[in-house]
């Protein structure tokens, strides 16, 4: 009989040495004459514990972490292959409070399932949503998604059911389903974790969308910065063609452009052009890829769909808070002690995430600022940490949840420098179509440099510039860059007094 051992093959685990741990385990098992079955799973999302090794036992999966290759011989000596006690031992994985306090829906199989095996996926309730959808009429599928209250997880939080209804209602001989896997926001990695850790679920969600809007072709547009996720998706597709039936999916690689995460720029890029934002209308739902009606959704949006079909819209709708239904996979990042993936219903406070899950800063110093929602998201001071995590509560303080990325900074942060970076990032990534975004961002860097050099009166100019960018830009790249800049200025004005380090 063999023992099943899990060593994550997720990019984060690899970055922390998981391959050498896996090699050491194989070698040590052979030396001890123990027969093992090694599974390279995804990450459970407790990134400070990676590489997290798990051993399957009659009591459940027992976790050890973070394991380095030199630890392996002592782990075997301690009998880890039958769950033996060791200083790195963490107990039964599913009982770890950090996981237990979450409510994982879209992410529930990540790190649990073997991402290379469709059979394992199907054995762990995968495929139920697609099976149900195949027995439903397109309008019924769309209604289920609408009734669930699911809103797009890519950032704009647009109701998914309405988008799908528009595509369904637009007649065409060819329609498309496009997955936005550009995940460009700093501080976000839930899409990556899903694609590497449970890729079949994304494919299933896209296939359901295909049935719902009568599309037979899907594309996954994924950023080039994610080679491991690209490989995982292609491998999954190889094994999934029969299961997907008539629905075809192709993986297309981006080329290092943040703005290509914006849906119309993404479509331009897929068509083989520069990723320049298109003016709307027409909406992609009416005239999208190759001018055809196109559903374009984020990875996590598609990833949420199979469960909605399998368990019913009301099951999903019962979870959450206000008009934010279901769960959101938050990502704790930056200067945080226990960083990783926290999928919880809407409704917790930011403070609960930062301290109850995150454990405060990684450095041990006080947290001073938190950027929520990526490079276009607001910097929040401590006084706003009690804000409830739902779309409306964040909008009410001029912030947004975006894709759920939460980047923590300790008290060594220089907020004028962060504001400068927001402008610089906009200057680097602007698609160039609008002058306020293209030129304004470069001016913004210069103005902030002058403020940092002591010219405090330039703050007025900075505010004017932000105003121009907010109102004169076609897309959120230009119009929302003012959010990190102004939130830094409003909440951390002491950093803008020209004491340039």
């Amino acid at each position: 009989m063999s023992v099943t051992v899990y060593v994550p093959g997720d990019a984060a685990a690899l970055a922390l040495g998981a391959d050498s741990v896996a090699d050491a385990i194989v070698t040590e098992a052979a030396r001890c004459g123990i027969n093992i079955r090694l599974v390279r799973n995804g990450s459970r999302g407790m990134l400070w514990l990676e590489p997290l090794v798990e051993v399957s036992t009659p009591r459940g999966r027992i976790a050890y972490g973070p394991v380095a290759a030199p630890d392996v011989s002592s782990l075997f000596a301690a009998g880890c292959m039958s769950g033996g006690a060791h200083p790195l031992g963490l107990g039964i994985t599913d009982e770890l409070p950090w996981l237990k306090r979450q409510q994982r829906l879209a992410c529930r199989r990540i790190g649990v399932v073997d991402p290379h095996s469709l059979d394992d996926y199907l054995a762990q309730d995968g495929g139920e949503g697609l099976r149900c959808a195949r027995a439903m009429a397109p309008v019924e599928i769309v209604r289920a998604v609408a009734d669930s209250g699911l809103r797009g997880r890519g950032g704009a939080a647009f109701p998914t059911g309405i988008k799908w209804q528009t595509v369904l209602d637009t007649p065409a001989t060819q329609k498309y389903v496009v997955c936005n896997a550009d995940e460009g926001d700093s501080g976000t990695f839930s899409d990556r974790l899903l694609m590497e850790g449970d890729p079949f679920q994304l494919l299933e969600g896209m296939a359901i969308a295909g049935l719902a809007v009568e599309a037979t072709m899907g594309y996954i547009y994924i950023r080039s910065e994610y080679p491991h996720a690209i490989a995982a998706l292609n491998a999954a597709l190889d094994g999934a063609r029969n299961w997907l039936g008539d629905f075809e999916i192709e993986v297309r690689k981006g080329a290092g452009s943040y703005v290509c995460g914006e849906e119309t720029a993404l479509l331009e890029s897929l068509e083989g052009r520069r990723g320049i934002v298109r003016a709307k209308p027409p909406l992609p739902a009416i005239s999208g890829l190759f001018d055809q009606p196109t559903v374009i959704n984020n990875v996590m949006t598609f990833g949420s769909v199979p469960d909605i079909l399998a368990r019913g819209a009301s099951h999903y709708h019962e979870i959450g808070c206000g008009r934010s239904r279901g769960t959101l996979p938050f990502q704790l990042a930056g200067n945080i002690k226990y960083g990783g993936l926290v999928e919880v219903p809407f409704g917790l406070t930011l403070r609960e995430l930062l301290y109850d899950f995150g454990g405060g800063s990684h450095s041990g110093r006080p947290l001073r600022a938190v950027q929520v929602g990526g490079p276009l998201g607001a910097y929040l001071p401590e006084t706003q940490f009690d804000t409830v995590l739902d779309y409306e509560a964040f909008a009410a303080i001029g912030a947004g949840l975006g894709h759920g990325g939460i980047v923590a900074f300790d008290d060594t942060v220089d907020m004028a420098r962060q504001a400068r970076y927001a402008m610089k990032f906009c200057a680097i990534e602007s698609c160039g179509k609008c002058t306020p975004c293209r030129i304004g961002s470069t001016r913004g860097v210069e103005v902030i440099d002058r403020i940092r050099d002591g010219q405090a009166e330039q703050v007025e100019l900075l505010r004017d510039l932000c105003d121009t960018m907010t109102h004169g830009s076609l897309c959120a790249m230009g119009s929302m860059t003012s959010i990190p800049v102004l939130s830094a200025l409003d909440h951390f004005s002491e950093d803008f007094r020209g004491m340039r380090a």
């Binding site: 990019a11 922390l16 899409d191 910065e225 690689k253 080329a255 930056g334 490079p375 300790d410 680097i428």
Partner: protein, 147 residues
């Protein structure tokens, strides 16, 4: 020349894909390390585009390069979550350390490893987390030794 043969083979294999330009460019860069200028005319011809359009696409995307990189490409994350844990200091250290070296240093804006920064990527294959300047030097030393 040899490169042109590769380019023509890639074009022939991909040109019928809808939106074939990016897949073609990616494959050329994977095969040759960059997209040499002599590949522009045959791509333009095959896809019925002007040379200026093809050139415009190559230069628009940060990922594509027109000249061969150094022996290895080292990408250091310069985005916010890595900044929060010393990413800028690492990037500065890297610049100084690799000055005049035959390794290519590039910024990258997030690798999706934002809870274990600062991070870097070598040649799109290898990842390293929690990189301190000392750890950076050790990694670079190994790359330089590995001739």
């Amino acid at each position: 020349m040899e490169n042109l043969g590769t380019v023509l083979r890639i074009i022939a294999a991909k040109q019928t894909l809808p939106g074939a330009l990016l897949p073609i460019l990616h494959e050329i860069q994977e095969a040759l390390g960059c997209i040499p200028s002599e590949s522009v005319p045959p791509i333009a011809k095959a896809l019925n585009l002007s040379r200026a359009e093809v050139h415009g696409v190559i230069t628009y995307y940060h990922h594509f390069r027109q000249t061969p990189p150094g022996r290895h490409v080292v990408r250091v994350c310069c985005a916010e979550a890595c900044q929060a844990v010393g990413g800028e200091a690492l990037a500065e250290h890297a610049r100084a350390r690799l000055e005049g070296s035959d390794l290519t240093l590039e910024p990258v804006y997030c690798l999706g490893l934002c809870a274990i920064g600062p991070v870097l990527q070598i040649d799109e294959t290898t990842l390293h987390a929690r990189v301190t300047p000392e750890k950076f030097d050790t990694l670079m030393h190994a790359l330089e030794e590995d001739q």
